[in-house]
């Protein structure tokens, strides 16, 4: 079946290795442009908030990080599931490369959230459901990475951690709905109100640029990590010698 060749080629480590190398700049440069543009728009051009003053500007890092922490988990769980079902080594490599990136985004969201909390709530840490769920998400990432590192055999580590990622995704909807389940200090999400956006465009556009920029940045970093992962997994294969020699 000719239409499925692209899918089968994705399962081949040499193909993925060179594809990742070719694709990286296509994600990295737009990500850099969007993040720089978004930061300029958000930190310089956007007007200060009438209540929060300049303090609100941390949202330009906080919201995209929080968004990415979930999105990376989804990517990780889906590729782990693909690896589990179709026994694709490359899909497991993608899942394994996702975890440290996702954990970093989660950590970043927690730190920026607590920095924002100090002037706004008067405390660095508030036991608010969304911050708490974010913390649980960080633990999920750490558990996933811990399980991987505890197993010597790569295949067993791949498949066991894939089961964990798929089980953990049950937690992701709980995180998402925690905002509505538990009343809290945290403000309701204000980005995606369809009828009338709560933010003026001068604030919203930089935020959307940052969201897109962070997403592209994630893909670029994922591709780089994926190449490293493929290299270390295939270190005894013969094609590596040709691929790495200049």
């Amino acid at each position: 079946m000719a239409s499925w060749t692209w899918f089968h080629r994705l399962g081949s480590p040499p193909y993925i290795y060179s594809l990742a190398a070719r694709l990286t700049p296509w994600f990295a440069w737009p990500a850099a442009a969007l993040i720089l543009g978004g930061l300029y728009g958000g930190l310089v051009l956007a007007p200060p908030d009438y209540q929060q003053g300049d303090g609100f500007r941390i949202i330009y890092v906080h919201a995209p990080s929080a968004w990415m922490s979930l999105m990376v988990y989804m990517t990780m769980a889906i590729s782990a599931g693909v690896g589990l079902i179709w026994r694709m080594k490359v899909a497991h490599a993608v899942a394994a490369s996702c975890a440290p990136i996702g954990a970093s985004f989660t950590f970043c969201a927690l730190v920026t959230g607590s920095l924002w909390g100090q002037p706004m709530w008067g405390t660095f840490w508030e036991w608010d459901p969304r911050l708490t769920s974010e913390l649980i998400l960080l633990f999920l990432y750490l558990g996933y990475m811990g399980l991987r590192s505890a197993m010597e055999d790569v295949q067993r580590a791949d498949r066991s951690s894939a089961v964990l990622a798929v089980v953990g995704i049950v937690n992701v909807p709980i995180i998402h709905y925690s905002v509505t389940w538990w009343k809290s200090l945290h403000q309701a999400p204000s980005v995606m109100k369809l009828a009338r956006p709560a933010m003026p465009p001068s604030m919203l556009i930089p935020l959307l640029m940052m969201l897109l920029g962070f997403t592209l940045f994630f893909v670029a970093v994922l591709l780089v990590r994926l190449r490293g992962e493929v290299l270390s997994r295939e270190r005894s294969a013969s094609w590596i010698r040709e691929a790495v020699s200049p």
Partner: protein, 244 residues
């Protein structure tokens, strides 16, 4: 998911209703075996309960012996103690059977591994979760909880521990091949168990204040049902991976 694997022997290809019986019979035998084995080692059986009692004792010593203050933190104390002692018991859930090859025999038996492991988890709950539910009121009374709250405490711990056992069975299966898995097991299991802790403590709190605790109890029951339907599948997959 393969339906045959869910309800009957995976090798034993029969039509739905007929295949159910041998799978359930095998599961029942596993359950009886596990209970019998556990009652031959009564000392091990009591350990999580003693642990629960000790953890509960730590709080009056650490916080304050005043019952009025203890009553406020009682739901949290009870649930954290219950969570930790169910975690403590988890390490033994599959350990012995993995060492002596019983799990491999289960996987090769042609019976559904999902059902067999579910039966083991049920046995585990009967031996650890249910006794906790019986003991929780005693611990509660010692923390100054009014007697009227006892039905709520028993119900929430009984239902919540079902979910805890099932979540824990996944973690125990995933760490089968890991030596000294205690810390890793808690790192895997505790984040997944947070919703149980939240709703359990909320139900207990409402029961202590004399309120209507049915809403968090129903959410706990929902988590337990979710666990019953999904966790055995993940447990069986994890056991298979770690036996290879």
């Amino acid at each position: 998911m393969d339906r045959r694997d869910l309800i009957g022997g995976s090798r034993d290809v029969r039509t739905g209703g007929r295949a159910l019986t041998p799978a359930l019979a095998a599961a029942r035998l596993t359950l009886v075996r596990d209970l019998r084995l556990a009652f031959r080692k009564r000392g091990q059986l009591v350990q999580p309960l003693v642990f629960f009692a000790i953890v509960t004792t730590l709080f009056p010593l650490a916080v304050s012996p005043e019952l009025s203050r203890l009553r406020d933190i009682a739901p949290g104390v009870l649930w954290v103690a219950a969570l930790l002692s169910s975690l403590l018991a988890l390490e033994f859930l599959f350990r012995d059977d993995a060492h002596d090859g019983t799990l491999e025999q289960y996987a090769l038996s042609g019976q559904s591994l999902t059902w067999l492991l579910f039966a083991k988890t049920v046995a585990h709950w009967l031996l650890t979760g249910l006794p906790l539910a019986v003991m929780a009121p005693l611990a509660g009374l010692s923390l100054g909880v009014p007697a009227a709250a006892i039905p709520g405490i028993v119900a929430s711990v009984a239902v919540g521990s079902v979910a805890l056992s099932l979540i824990g069975s996944v973690g125990a299966a995933l760490t089968l091949a890991v030596k000294r898995s205690g810390a890793l097991l808690s790192l895997l299991t505790l984040p997944l168990a947070m919703p149980v802790l939240i709703f359990g403590a909320r139900a207990t709190e409402l029961a202590i204040k004399g309120g209507d605790f049915s809403a968090p109890l129903q959410l706990l029951a929902a988590l337990a049902v979710l666990g019953i339907t999904l966790a055995p599948l993940a447990t069986a997959a994890a056991v298979r991976i770690n036996l290879e």
